[in-house]
Symmetry: C2
Subunit: 661 residues, 2 copies
């Protein structure tokens, strides 16, 4: 940068996370809009080129950037191939273009331009030295032509503006004056399901038809149509590994298990094996692989739980004591968060000298299940293992299998959650369970949907999980479940529910003020009346069908909140550049009818300032004619606590019969 | 970063400009508040230390950082020595502190902690291995004491909390788990005048007492008391070099000069010499040095103009033709901004192969004048020379002379102006001349007074310059000049006026719609009635006295705008952490009395929510008792268009006679 010959400046490239330390995220088919400030001293023009390539390519693609005002330049490319792309910007002082603009002004001011023409010819001849074949020849011909006094001056001025010559200019800049952005930035490209996914969590052991029986993979297989009928495309199972017996917990987290208590699936490791084994009562590896295959036939994937911790009975404890922390009394350090003790769980000791061997072994766990056909991993408590461990693991896995998806289950402080997303987790659990009011939803989802967060953090919204029965669901009744479902399914392109407690509206907590389920499946087998006519099953299916049919709901981009004059009414839209728009209005009060005026940002919705348009409620099927920005809404939670409107712009006049497409 | 042993994360260090590419700016005695996000996985505690050192020092100072919430950590240091400091952050997982918090909770829960005590002792013994002398001994003694079963358990728990042990912990972390921020950040430290300066610009050739005579340095010397009496501390002179004769411009930029026309001082270079020579009619080098010395006696510095361009008569043109761009017809390229031509000016050709030699020569120009005693340079049009040239020049100069100040006269696009400030210019001209309304002032000065801009861009506010007679001054009459002076002098810790046109309120433009002065001193010698009783001289002196007496006005930090219900009333305060506060209310309408309510942000002003306080108008001497946030103001521009209030908080009760300090 110290040579005064390189006069151009490149600043503030976006998108960019932490000065390029981390890649941004996109899914195949999504655009990357690259911007940078590019300028130079004085009056000269600059040229800027965006460069990009997939990691597997040797050649860079180059695309000219366009000035969009205030020295900001922009270009975009679309990622297709999974894996990693790099993008960068180079720029230079464009002498030929500067000269072109100058000579035109002089010509228009009727000044003598003969010497200027020679200057331009010289610049082009120099450029020709750097060009090849016909390009070089064309530059030389052009140079000769503009100083050819036999030609009419006006014709030569026209020649100077020729578009094809400008293209050549961008191809052969003087490399001595070209500035390249220091380090290329990266975009990590995932498959579509990383962006748009609909999850259903269930405990396989509660899948048996007969009461009191331990469910098996075969039982789960029988339930696949049930899950698929609701429109889910990811079926997530808690850990399927052998469960430890030492210090096993009983129902409702009772410190003393009784004989026959199944224990928590997250207490991984027993005499039957560890993280690469299957709990015998669930079935065999073959059963599991068949489940994966059958799910696939119904358009669903099985997501596995990865919980990197062991019970005292795990084979690792015998075989690799060096992977655990030994206390001064010779015992292994169990998990604790003083004064709480979790004596049934041993955390791995990543700081040990054997840390690298441990990290390698844990990577083989992922690799093993990938080899069995798994492509989605829901990672339990990643925030209790070192960040560099995850960064290395995910990078290694994705290097060979970029279609693998990792969901981070880190309910912790915001910066920790963001760090995990930055370092590679594809999707992330988030604070949705505790964002209930209009202001809470607006602030949080505005933060998530804007850069830089939107470039690295893909939220997966869960109204409930086996660990979280939010107060809202405990007291909101049926409308509460419907409200939270609509919010999750329309605010988040990815969302999930823990069923059957969700669709069967189980709101019973273990005690008042706690978010723990009563008789939680974490510690016992449950029976569920999946065909209960009160089930939300149909409603869920409808909402998921709306998601599938409406592309704006399949991306977290394009989220915009609209003002309402009633704080119980939350209004937001999701739009796409092509004009597609979905408008959602939710009454977040599960107990009372709420009415009010929605003040639409018409520009966002691609609607004209005035005139009418149709809003078609995809939940009820009702259609309303609205006009202008201000429209009235009334929502009775007992009937339907939300509208999911498809906006249909008026494309014909009253001369036609069908007003709306 | 790939070892899972280094579990701590450092993110988002501030202050930081463009990912550390440029230093921040401070003046001697100012604090640098360093913040960073520091966290780790799991429940462990982290420790963070801020490190800093002056470039001339080999050892780093270390200061522990404090958590200020949401994983943000903070520490500060005060820069004293001029030149460059570096600062950085290191952090680690603090095992001893994590252990301390855990064992305390267990102890309070009455759990058995004997094994835990041994764990702590082991950590301390390991730490002792890294410590020296008495520190090592103290750690070992402490380790022995806490496991000494002859001691009372409660006494040992008290020992664990000992502050002196915590200090040792910060000193001897395990280097294998300490993370250092990649590259230290820099702060460039200037002397106080870089932050707080009051400039007066005048043309020496108009300084003669006798009409028609060419003023000399000796004449300027006689005017020093006049300038000093108004409270200025920088006297800036346009170029003092020999003026070219080729294509010399006549009065009012007449393309044809007549015999005896002095030409523009920015047309540098004649038979008498170039940038290192003095225009003979102004006097000798000795005269100039005497002027510098005499100004110094009155507390003023002479600022020189650096305009890196030449006339066709400059010695460089003969001796270093390679420093200019040759056109195809063999002539040298004169300055142009097509279709405008400036045939009296040759720009340097920095992109030439001789660019480095040129840059070196130009640096010797600065060095030459430094050797004559100059420490302040006002740089003409720096935005028409390459950024890397300035970056290298300023770095080289400041390496040896960090007391040198460079003011960038770049009236151009915002990003170009910011870049020049980032790369090293100490102060910058800015858009103040065209920011007249409440909204314009609020937006612009809010931007300038906040990071990151406030960390690199020091605005120097000029209501007028020889190039800029803003419309506001052409039509605003005497109140217009007073309003612009108060705004410049109180919004900007550094400001300047071009006199005598300013204090004598010359508002005559060369033609309507232009900002050019009629009979501009740029092209002719002017006579000024400096003792005209209508002069603003006394008012300027008063305003500058107020600046000297009130520290809040000597810094651009702490600027805050307050709401008013009349858009002609602009209200803002400058405050210091110690509670000092100045409140300015300006009527920006020079023609009518404007009244309204000011809604004060009392928290910013260190005032209580209710109760009375005194505002003392330092311009009129009037005192008002105000109460609460909402207070009435009425300003007649014909009498006094502004209040500059010193806020005096009520420190005694009604039991005393003197309410206010």
């Amino acid at each position: 940068m110290s040579s005064p010959r390189v006069r151009v400046v490149i600043e503030n490239i976006t998108p960019c996370i932490d000065c390029g330390r981390f890649p941004i995220k996109r899914t195949s088919g999504e655009p990357v809009v690259v911007e940078a400030d590019v300028f130079t001293d004085g009056h000269d023009q600059v040229a800027a080129v965006m460069m990009y390539r997939h990691d597997s390519a040797t050649e860079w693609h180059r695309a000219p950037m366009k000035a969009v005002g205030n020295d900001r330049w922009r270009a975009e490319f679309t990622v297709q191939q999974l894996g990693s792309y790099q993008y960068s910007v180079c720029a230079w002082v464009d002498h030929l273009d500067s000269w072109r603009r100058g000579i035109r002004k002089k010509y228009e001011a009727r000044q003598d331009i003969h010497v200027d023409l020679k200057t331009g010819a010289l610049i082009a001849e120099n450029m020709a030295e750097r060009a090849h074949g016909t390009d070089a020849q064309r530059l030389r011909e052009w140079a000769a032509a503009i100083v050819d006094t036999r030609r009419d001056l006006e014709a030569r001025m026209a020649l100077i503006q020729t578009e094809s010559i400008r293209e050549l200019e961008l191809r052969y800049p003087d490399p001595d004056i070209v500035l390249h952005w220091d380090t290329p930035l990266e975009v990590e490209v995932d498959r579509e399901r990383a962006r748009f996914s609909t999850w259903y969590e269930m405990f396989p052991r509660s899948a048996a038809a007969a009461p009191g029986q331990h469910g098996t993979f075969a039982d789960v297989q029988k339930l696949l149509p049930y899950v698929a009928s609701m429109g889910f495309d990811v079926l997530y199972l808690p850990p399927i590994h052998p469960i430890g017996t030492t210090e096993r917990k009983g129902p409702n987290n009772n410190p003393q298990a009784s004989a026959g208590d199944p224990g928590s699936p997250w207490a991984i490791g027993g005499t039957e094996g560890g993280h690469k084994s299957i709990h015998p009562e669930l079935g065999t590896l073959e059963d599991f692989k068949q489940l994966i295959a059958k799910a696939g036939e119904l358009g669903m994937e099985i997501a596995m739980d990865i919980a990197f911790q062991t019970t005292p009975d795990h084979p690792y404890v015998r075989e690799h004591r060096e992977w655990f922390l030994e206390r001064p009394d010779g015992t292994i350090q169990y998990a604790e968060n003083p004064p709480k003790k979790y004596q049934d769980i041993y955390p791995f000791h990543f700081e040990s000298n054997a840390g690298e061997a441990l990290a390698t072994e844990l990577r083989t766990v992922i690799e093993y299940w990938i080899s069995q056909g798994i492509r989605i991993f829901r990672v339990d408590n990643p925030h209790t293992k070192p960040f560099p461990f995850w960064e290395g693991l995910i990078r290694e896995i994705r290097r060979l299998r970029p279609d693998v998806i990792f969901l981070a289950e880190a309910f912790t402080r915001p910066k920790v959650m963001y760090r995990l997303a930055k370092l590679g987790f594809t999707q992330s659990y988030n604070y949705f369970p505790w964002r209930n009011t209009k202001q809470e939803l607006l602030e949080y989802f505005t933060e998530l949907s804007r850069p830089p967060v939107s470039d690295f953090f893909r939220a997966n919204l869960w109204p409930n999980t086996p660990d979280i029965l939010p107060e809202y669901l405990q007291y909101g009744g049926r409308p509460g479940f419907m409200i939270r479902l609509v919010l999750a399914a329309t605010l988040g392109a990815s969302y999930g529910i823990y069923g059957p407690p969700f669709e069967l509206m189980d709101g019973r907590a273990v005690e008042a003020g706690k978010e723990e389920y009563l008789d939680s499946e974490k510690y016992q087998i449950r029976q569920w009346s999946r065909d209960n006519p009160a089930s939300l099953r149909e409603f869920i299916a409808l909402v998921n069908r709306i998601r599938r049919d409406n592309a704006p709901l399949q991306s977290d981009r394009g989220l915009k909140f609209h003002a309402t004059d009633n704080d119980n009414l939350v209004a937001y839209s999701k739009t796409r550049d092509n004009g597609d728009a979905v408008l959602v209005v939710v009454n977040v009060d599960p107990h009372h009818t709420q009415s009010g005026w929605v003040q639409l940002d018409l520009l966002t919705l691609h609607l004209p300032d005035s005139g009418t348009f149709q809003v078609h409620d995809l939940l009820s099927g009702a259609r309303f004619i609205w006009q202008g920005p201000r429209n009235f809404v009334s929502l009775d939670p007992g009937r339907a606590p939300a509208h999911i409107f498809r906006i249909r712009t008026r494309v014909r006049s009253e001369r036609d019969f069908d007003y709306f497409l």
